[in-house]
């Protein structure tokens, strides 16, 4: 019965979403107070029923109800409980339900945390989000119902893909979805503002904390995915430029640009139409990512053509959403621009540069991701686009952008004095340049031009972010506001990530060896001794564990235990790397194939500064958190609430 309850709850949620997308919107357009007032309760009700539906699916997993096809395909009695929970969003149908629940949560969140906004505005936002919800729930119910029954029910399930049986994968999808579904809120605000026809600075102030929240979740989601890929996929890569990664990265790039552009719109009332366009683009790219991942078009264009129902639905939905918003934009956005100026050397210029370059970066990734699909669909020949392409073209926009970050954050609004700025920044910049050229050379013995440039830029961004806080610590600098701290932290994180990426890419040492127990390999000053192999048994897998002792200058450092696992149900072999993590470097061992006579092929890696990549992301996300916590957003909210109260009583 429980799966049927889940199914019914989903249908009810869909009906509520239909009401939510119509009533509050019509109410707002006609000024009907009663209809406007339906927005918030409908949003909460929709979320409630989605949560019930989601809970029912989870219950089906926890009870091993293999009469539900989706459960039978993605679970097994021997699957540990925490992975049964993760299996709920481990495949197509369930992850779409998670998408919808996440949207429900955001919608409900807007309804709760928007007490200070005019009701008509809120109801329009909720209605726009309702339209999106309708699209997704229809998609689930028509093409991808997770509650479909299977008859006869199998005795046991086909198990969750072993690659996904990992703690990081339990939180990675929810984080990622919180991020890219979260961009539906700025999107909703943008559409609502265009419909209402009033785009004042107030609009940007409302949108900013929502955008930052979505952005920080997306940052963490992407970082978690990268970390997982690093230790789980077995060969120590942390970013593959795979279309699925790009699908999450494009909204992040545009979302980052949007945050910056929103700052200008709020503070100066400038770039209104550009900001709107980015709000539309960020969410459209989220939808596009969903299309790419969900339609099967990535596996092959032909697979898509063979079973086009799912892909076609999202493609049409995507077309409607993007088409409608751009049409609205074309009608409403042109007349918005405030006639206010700034000089060519000002914070405004740098932020404009930032958002243009970020959009170009997203465009480049989009081109490389969609290009092969489009060529394939139009019969222009099949072409592959991989890391070797992206790593090159991504530098076009990224190098100037990263160079500009450190300067831009110290440039005054409206009009800055280049001489004065030069005086202030010349020593830190020179320090970064000298350190960037010589430190890698001293530590690693060699340095290429690009590596020196990367380290210099990373260091420069780190130092630039710390100039003002350092002054403050010595009691000299100007007052630092909460939003400045947020910015400094986020840029500090960016600098750390850039350092990590550059150093890891340039100085990783990899070696593939055939080793027998008792043999040793030396790389990067570390000695790896292969001691023995042990059979190990997990709850739902058998494994062979290699035992390696790592020593440096004769002193034993640690023992690493990489595994080669074979899961009992899905029998493909999995590599579980043995990693010794550290701030300065990771030591990484993966077991390959058995070569016979006790010998194994082994991949050993020394990866300097790789932790900086993810640590930097965490620092960026903390920056986002500090930004949201700025009392400014709530003070104004309180003042507004008080003012509303006065008018209401008067």
């Amino acid at each position: 019965m429980i799966p049927e309850f889940g199914h019914i709850a989903l249908v009810i949620a869909l009906c509520i979403a239909v009401l939510q997308s119509v009533l509050p919107m019509v109410g707002a357009q006609r000024g009907n107070v009663a209809w406007i007032a339906t927005g918030r309760p409908l949003a909460h009700a929709q979320f409630l029923f989605l949560a019930i539906s989601f809970g029912c699916l989870m219950a089906a997993f926890l009870q091993n109800d293999f009469s539900v096809e989706y459960v039978a395909k993605n679970s097994n009695t021997a699957l540990p409980t925490m992975f049964k929970v993760a299996a709920v969003w481990g495949a197509h149908e369930g992850s779409l339900l998670l998408w919808s629940v996440t949207l429900g949560l955001w919608t409900s969140g807007v309804a709760v945390f928007s007490k200070s906004l005019p009701n008509a505005m809120v109801s329009r936002v909720l209605a726009v989000m309702g339209v999106i919800a309708v699209g997704f729930m229809l998609f689930i119910l028509l093409t991808s119902n997770p509650f479909d029954r299977l008859f006869p029910a199998p005795f046991d399930g086909a198990d969750l893909n072993p690659l996904l049986q990992d703690p990081a994968l339990i939180i990675h999808p929810p984080m990622l979805y919180m991020g890219y579904v979260g961009f539906s809120v700025p999107f909703g605000f943008a559409i609502a503002a265009m419909l209402a026809g009033n785009l004042d600075q107030q609009w940007a102030r409302w949108t900013r904390p929502w955008t930052a929240t979505a952005w920080l979740f997306l940052t963490m989601g992407i970082a978690l995915g990268s970390w997982w890929a690093y230790y789980e996929l077995g060969w120590g890569g942390w970013w593959f430029w795979d279309p699925v990664e790009n699908a999450a990265f494009m909204p992040w790039l545009v979302g980052t640009g949007l945050m910056h552009s929103l700052a200008v719109t709020e503070k100066r009332g400038l770039f209104k139409s550009w900001t709107l366009l980015m709000a539309i683009a960020a969410f459209s790219l989220s939808l596009l990512g969903t299309f790419l991942v969900r339609s099967g078009v990535l596996v092959s264009v032909h697979a898509f053509a063979a079973d086009p129902a799912r892909g076609l639905f999202i493609l049409i939905f995507l077309g409607i959403v993007i088409g409608t918003s751009l049409t609205l934009y074309a009608y409403r956005a042109s007349s918005l621009e405030t006639q206010v100026g700034f000089t060519h050397f000002s914070r405004e210029t740098f932020i404009l540069l930032n958002s243009i370059l970020l959009v170009i970066a997203a465009g480049v990734v989009l081109l490389g991701t969609l290009g092969p699909l489009v060529f394939g669909a139009l019969d222009l020949g099949s072409v592959s686009v991989g890391p070797q392409y992206f790593e090159l073209v991504f530098l076009f926009p990224m190098l100037p952008l990263l160079l500009a970050v450190g300067v831009g954050m110290h440039t005054a609004w409206r009009s800055a004095n280049p001489r004065e700025l030069f005086r202030r920044l010349r020593w830190p910049a020179l320090g970064a340049l000298v350190a960037g050229m010589f430190v890698p050379w001293l530590v690693f013995g060699s340095v290429s031009l690009l590596t020196a440039l990367g380290v210099t830029i990373g260091l420069w961004t780190v130092i630039a972010s710390l100039i003002d806080p350092a002054k403050k610590l010595r009691g000299k600098g100007p007052r630092i506001t909460r939003s400045m701290v947020a910015m400094q932290l986020a840029h500090l994180g960016l600098g750390l990530t850039v350092l990590g990426i550059t150093v890891t890419s340039a100085y990783t040492v990899v070696t593939d060896e055939g080793m027998k127990p008792g043999e040793t390999v030396d790389i990067a000053g570390y000695t790896f001794r292969f001691e023995e192999t042990l059979p190990v048994s997990g709850p739902n897998y058998e494994a062979i564990q290699g035992v390696f002792t790592v020593s440096r200058n004769g002193a034993e450092l640690t023992q690493l235990r990489p595994e080669k696992r074979v899961y009992r149900v899905q029998t493909s072999p999995m590599t579980e790397a043995g990693i010794k993590a550290g701030w300065g470097r990771d030591l990484f061992i993966a077991l390959g194939e058995q070569l016979g006579r006790g010998a194994w092929s082994v991949r050993i890696q020394y990866k300097p500064l790789i932790r900086f990549i993810w640590f930097g992301c965490i620092v960026m996300a903390i920056g986002g958190l500090v930004g949201i916590s700025d009392p400014r957003y709530r003070q104004r909210a309180r003042a507004k609430a008080a003012a509303d109260g006065v008018t209401a009583t008067a």
Binding site: N74, A158, L163, V299, L352, L357, L380, V602
Partner: protein, 140 residues
Amino acid sequence: MIRATTFGLLIGLLGLSFTASAVDPSDKLEDPIQNELYLAITKEVRCLVCQNQSIADSTAPLAADLRREIRRMVEEGQDETRIKNFLVERYGDFILYRPRFRSWNIVLWLGPVALMVVGFIALAMNIRRRKSLPIDEDAP
């Protein structure tokens, strides 16, 4: 069959099907420069029977064959261009992860350049226009 479809969907979900990495120490070349070239090329060559994976990372038999073939050519002293030409002639453009500068692929290379040019023109135009507008000093 069901499992195959499910796996297909999961590939769709995470886009990654690296079930195990190819670790093949027997592939190593004596000459370090040749070894470097060999590694660089195998990382850029797509495994045709895998889901978005280079032959350097794939355990598929076809990938192993191709690795051997490339190793032989490197050992014979053939240069990168010649080896890649051979691969493209035999398998088409799809084999290389860095599209070659020809036919429709040109779009992939000129696109980013065009974006940069358009972006900077837009930036310059906007700044020029803003410069002539009044800077409102008393805005918040």
